[in-house]
């Protein structure tokens, strides 16, 4: 991959490359700062516009929006005590009290530096860990890949907030949706019911935007209308001095490590990392007594961890083609839409693209410092924009984005339908991330299963008897699937 670095840098230094780096980070910070939009919706809104770009700038734009939105969430958390994204919920605990004391600028300064450090370290972890993991995965044939995808599907259990059964069911619905249209081996049509619009299957993008962005608008419409929050006094970001950092480096390092480790684990996500890191900081920080009253270590714990998750989460996504959460599933969907097959061969087959993505991710995290300082002042008034305007604009932008990609009105219908079904299912506690994960991984799962059956003359048992890697992965999948169920069962018995 190192040999591809000059080409990758050339992509980043091109006009398109620089534009997406800056524009994506700006968009991410602004969208992340708006309460209620969140990283997933922000990435989903931008996704359609990436389809006119070449592969590397498209993914870099989404990464910039992702990393920017995670940081942007802290602006709302600190200034109006409402996390812009769920990842920033822990930041409210100390950020807002500090802002109320009149130190809003300093609170954002702590958040900015912690976010940048967390993001940069996670970029280094991504750059070194992903190629190693991918190199190992190159030994995989169809059977090992099938077992790997099976293991990847088990992350559905961990992203299934609320009910594991409903999460698994959503995963099955997603896989089923991916089977509509042409059969991957024989090319015969399935579940089209005579409708030629379905011959190419459901447009993944329309489903993603429908179930995430449009259903979010419907969910908001079904809830009480939010009043505009009061802003605390704020005159720009104030970076903490070197003296102020003394005695806090241990907490920063620990938070970054927690974020990276949790990021690599499928399905845990940045919000979990932020709260675990906050709890650990509260337990071990020398300044633990001040936690909850505006203690900088509280802000550092949360922000360093949630930004460190961004790179960690990309390790299994890029190296193995396994998305850990909704956002990385959208990233994989983008790769698919750009004609790239996610999976173990991704790094080996696309060295320049991957090098550009990794280097771009590093630069994005560097850009968070100047752009974060600059945009915090601009983003502050945006926090006062009423939800009605944001929700209406989201629907209009989604429609533009979907039509713009293929010019196919049927995709708009799919988006509308997915939004309505997504709304209904979310109201019943059915999570949407498994549906997208199923839709992304479904085609590879089917293809490798059927290729494997050809190789083993139709014997499913032979998948595991002659393939030790597949056996280990399958055991890991069974454990990953059964342990949470077992834990839930034991917890129910205990209660």
């Amino acid at each position: 991959m190192l040999s591809a670095l000059p080409d990758a840098i050339a992509i980043l230094l091109s006009f398109e490359g620089l534009l997406v780096l800056v524009l994506g980070t700006v968009l991410g910070i602004v969208l992340g700062a708006m309460p209620g939009i969140g990283s997933t919706v922000a990435v989903a809104i931008v996704l359609p516009f990436t389809l006119t770009m070449s592969q590397a700038p498209a993914i870099i734009l989404l990464l910039a929006v992702y990393a920017g939105s995670v940081y942007g969430g802290s602006i709302a958390a600190i200034l109006i005590n409402t996390p812009g994204t769920p990842q920033s919920a822990a930041t409210c605990l100390d950020g807002y009290p500090m802002a109320q004391r009149g130190d809003a600028g300093l609170a954002l300064g702590w958040a900015t530096v912690a976010s940048v450090v967390g993001g940069l370290v996670s970029a280094v972890v991504l750059i070194f860990a992903a190629p190693q993991l991918a190199a190992f995965a190159l030994q995989f044939g169809p059977i090992e890949t099938f077992a790997l995808i099976l293991l990847g599907m088990t992350c559905i259990v961990s992203v299934s907030t609320g009910s594991v059964v409903k999460g698994l069911m959503a995963g099955m619905i997603g896989i089923f949706l991916s089977t509509v249209g042409g059969d991957p081996i024989l090319g015969e049509m399935r579940f089209t019911f005579g409708n030629w619009q379905l011959f190419a299957g459901f447009n993944l993008l329309a489903v993603v935007i429908g179930v995430f962005a449009l259903s979010e608008v419907f969910i908001r419409a079904s809830a009480s209308v939010n009043k505009v929050s009061e802003l605390v006094a704020f005159n720009g970001v104030v970076l903490p001095s070197w003296q102020m950092w003394k005695g806090r480096f241990g907490n920063l390092a620990k938070s970054v490590a927690i974020g990276n480790v949790i990021g690599v684990l499928p399905g845990t996500g940045a919000a979990t990392a932020a709260f675990i890191s906050y709890a650990e900081g509260r337990r071990s920080s020398p300044n633990r007594d001040g936690f909850g009253k505006g203690e900088p270590d509280g802000i550092v714990s949360s922000e360093a961890a949630n930004n460190a998750v961004t790179g960690g989460a990309l390790v299994p996504t890029m190296a193995l083609g396994i998305p850990g959460d909704a956002i990385t599933a959208v990233m994989l969907a983008t790769l698919t839409l750009h004609g790239i097959t996610p999976g173990p061969r991704l790094v080996d087959d696309n060295p320049t693209l991957i090098a550009a993505i990794f280097a771009g991710f590093f630069v994005i995290n560097l850009l968070l410092l100047p752009l974060g300082m600059l945009l915090s002042r601009v983003a502050a008034p945006i926090l006062r924009v009423r939800e009605a305007f944001m929700m209406t604009a989201i629907v209009i932008l989604c429609a533009v984005g979907i039509y713009f990609v293929r010019g196919n009105p049927f995709d708009l219908l799919v988006m509308g339908g997915a939004g309505f079904v997504g709304f209904l299912l979310r109201r019943q506690g059915v999570p949407m991330a498994p549906l997208v994960i199923g839709m992304v991984l479904g085609p590879t799962l089917e293809l490798t299963l059927r290729q494997g059956l050809i190789l083993t003359d139709g014997s499913f048992v032979a998948f595991f008897t002659g393939h030790p890697i597949a056996l280990v992965l399958a055991i890991a999948a069974v454990l990953a699937l059964s342990l949470p169920l077992l834990r839930a069962l034991l917890a129910r018995r205990a209660s």
Binding site: L168, R190, V217, V225, A388, F389, T392, G442
Partner: protein, 152 residues
């Protein structure tokens, strides 16, 4: 009766019926492959079987559990927003992007509680107008135009 006739049960039952209907439909289609594993319906049948099994478990769990349904704050608002969004998605291709977007914003903003015409009307015209200007006349990537004029 209340336990059986609530939104959660109806949706779960709907999911089960859809899965069963799709499973039944797999037997009504004929394909060239005679080998079971290479039949185009081999994989979908596995998935649909799992879907049906999970739907049954979820339905039983829903009936047995005494979960509280998330409350809808305003039925008229959610109905207006959903119907407006679905109609909007439907008519963009035939009526163009600009006019349906203006009408959608004029309907949606008051539904969300913005009643001041000095806020609603400019937003409803300026946001879609800016997008038409950007896509149709600057980027050269046209959004659908109306039957009245090619300009928007």
């Amino acid at each position: 009766m209340q336990r059986l006739a609530n939104e959660r049960v109806i949706v779960q039952l709907g999911l089960l019926i859809v899965a069963v209907a799709l499973y039944a439909s797999t037997f009504q289609q004929s394909f060239s492959a005679s080998d079971l594993a290479q039949s185009p319906m081999f994989f979908p049948r596995i998935i649909l079987t799992l879907w049906i099994g999970l739907a049954v478990i979820a339905l039983v769990q829903t009936i047995r559990a005494d979960e509280t349904q998330p409350v809808i704050a305003s039925w008229p608002r959610i109905a207006i927003v959903i119907v407006a969004a679905l109609i909007y998605c439907n008519i963009i291709a035939s009526e163009g992007f600009f006019l349906p977007s203006v009408v959608f914003a004029l309907v949606c903003l008051p539904a969300f509680g913005i009643r001041n015409p000095l806020l609603v009307v400019p937003f409803a015209i300026l946001v879609p107008g800016a997008l038409v200007l950007l896509f149709n006349h600057t980027l050269g990537m046209p959004l659908p135009t109306s039957r009245f004029t090619y300009l928007f």
